[in-house]
Amino acid sequence: MAELAVLRTAVEAGERTVIGGQHLLAGSFVALALVFAAIAGATGDTFFFRLATEALIFAGLALSVDLLLGYTGLLSLGQALFFGFGAYVSGLVLKHVAPSFWAAVGITLAATLVVGLVAGIIAIRARGVYFALITFGLAQVAFKVVFNSRGIGGSDGIIGIPQIKVEFGLFAVDAQSPAGFFLVTLAFMMLLYGTCAYLMHTPFGRMLMAIRTNESRVPFLGFSPWRAKLAAFVIAAVVAALSGSLYPMLRGLVSPELLAFQTSGNAVIMVVIGGVGTLVGALYGSVVLTVLKSVIGTFTEHHLIIIGGLFMLSVIFFPKGLAGYARPRLERWLARRTERA
């Protein structure tokens, strides 16, 4: 019994430092974002605020890819399907139903639960590389259908989406205000991140990690991997769609490119650069990719060669990504600090 208690304390201490490392990374992310907002706000900038808001929105998409890849071991090559779906639903609601933030987000959430469930039942029948290919195929079908449907704007997408105010009861934030909407998006994304991070530390999250490690053994322990995978798929779909639902509020338009393979591929790049299986890495990855694109983009229009090269280098030499590299070091630092205290 004594050994068991020792073991338990050791495991719990280890988990605390893991969570501590992750909290530290997430906290620094928010701090960096706020520092950026203070500087950009003081200089009265618009362009970089919009760019940073877009990076945050795509970070949500990357988060959903990491939820599937890093925790459940399912590589989705079609996560843009849900991102684009959320953007389209939100755009249509804002334009034709009510120009309200909460209506757009609420209807997107409800619609994605249905669509995610249907797509999930189709997709999780496939394992391994077949899952990657089936999500790729589903997203391509959706992209071609949207691209050729005149009713929702076809290849032009939806334009002229009304500008809205985000109502918070006591006060309202104008989505047109660069700083205001940046802070709203930051809060929204950290809420999504926090929910995902919390879920991964529940028994459900442990189950997903068990599936990633060895799916065939899970049924022997008396659990259904099918149900857990379906739940993970639907949650990831919701995260992607809710992120997408903010896009039309920022840009005032929705285009079919949001559903294209490029969008899904970018999200995978963000996750790999940021660190697979860390969640917080997806946020950093999105910021890194957006910064890289705009910095290299000022020198050459062929920025994809450099981004592709960095991506390949990081797959070969740096497979744990930024957060995967930083986290264990932060944990050791935290552990040393608690020892001293």
Partner: protein, 297 residues
């Protein structure tokens, strides 16, 4: 009765022949993909870019004064060398890790991004339209068909048969199948598995390059040409069964006919979703595809 025959002759027959011309080209692409998957377990996301590279090498050589026929012989050799080096320097780096399926997929995906942008950098974004090496048309059963398409069908069919013979009727092919069935056992019997892996990858890449050269006179050559074509090739590989040569041939013929004939009834823009829909359906109901994997019967 004569009306039915006329419809068949003038409406369906040209579509069937056009479908066949695209079909053999897609099968060449799909064979490369499926052999690489069957042996190495690698989903080559850069296969479409290798196809584009073949086409670009072809137009470069023609611009330097080489004839189309010389290109047809030379490009696969160059592509094979590129494929061999690519396998040794990139795929092998992550091949022995636990997540090799996902890592090799990501690696080839990165390669595809770089290649597409490199084409834009070197050749510009505008399409090239090479001259047809066999101009003119001939009349067959009362319908006029471009000579080059007829040549493409015959040459493509010959290459497909040659690939089949190489895999199933030569000792080299037997080594490949043995390595696909059980690489450790094959290795202990003296098959140089590492070289077989690299050689097979090179072979698949050469096939992609060859179909690039063959198709360039029909479709134009442009940086994203691989991306548009690879989806069809992936659908063929999945419906046929990943790693199956027979399946790829059957699925290639059927899917391109579906695409070709359905475009008589629905707008061609909807034929892509139709083919992808069939692919998704297969992944749901019969993920192993029509036929068995390379080296497994």
């Amino acid at each position: 009765m004569s009306e039915v025959i006329e419809t068949l002759q003038f409406v369906y027959a040209p579509q069937v022949v056009n479908g066949l011309a695209i079909g053999v080209a897609v099968i060449l692409m799909a064979l490369g993909l499926t052999i690489i998957f069957g042996l190495l377990d690698v989903i080559n996301m850069a296969h479409g870019e290798f196809y584009a590279l073949g086409a670009y090498l072809g137009i470069t050589l023609v611009a330097k004064g080489a004839s189309f026929w010389l290109c047809l012989a030379l490009v696969p050799v160059v592509m094979a060398a590129i494929g061999y080096l690519g396998e040794r320097s990139l795929i092998q780096r992550v091949f022995h890790s636990k997540d090799r399926h996902i890592l090799t997929l990501l690696l080839t995906f990165g390669l595809a991004i770089i290649a597409e942008d490199a084409f834009k950098l070197v050749y510009g974004p505008n399409p090239y339209k090479p001259e047809s090496p066999i101009p003119g048309a001939s009349e067959l059963l009362g319908i006029t068909l471009p000579n080059y398409r007829l040549f493409l069908i015959v040459a493509g069919a010959a290459i497909i048969v040659a690939v089949w013979l190489a895999v199933y009727r030569t000792s080299l092919g037997a080594m490949v199948r043995a390595a696909a069935f059980d690489s450790q056992m094959a290795s202990s019997l003296g098959v140089p598995v590492e070289k077989v892996y690299a050689g097979t990858f090179a072979f698949g890449v050469a096939l992609a390059g060859l179909s690039g050269v063959l198709l360039a006179p029909i479709y134009s050559v442009f940086p994203t040409m691989g991306k548009d074509f690879i989806l069809l090739a992936f659908s063929v590989v999945i419906v046929g069964g990943m790693g199956s040569i027979k399946g790829a041939v059957i699925a290639g013929l059927v899917l391109t006919q579906v695409q070709s004939i359905s475009s008589l009834y629905i707008s061609p823009v909807w034929s892509d979703p139709l083919v992808f829909g069939i692919m998704v359906l297969f992944l749901m109901v019969r993920p192993q595809g029509l036929a068995g994997r390379l080296g497994h019967g």
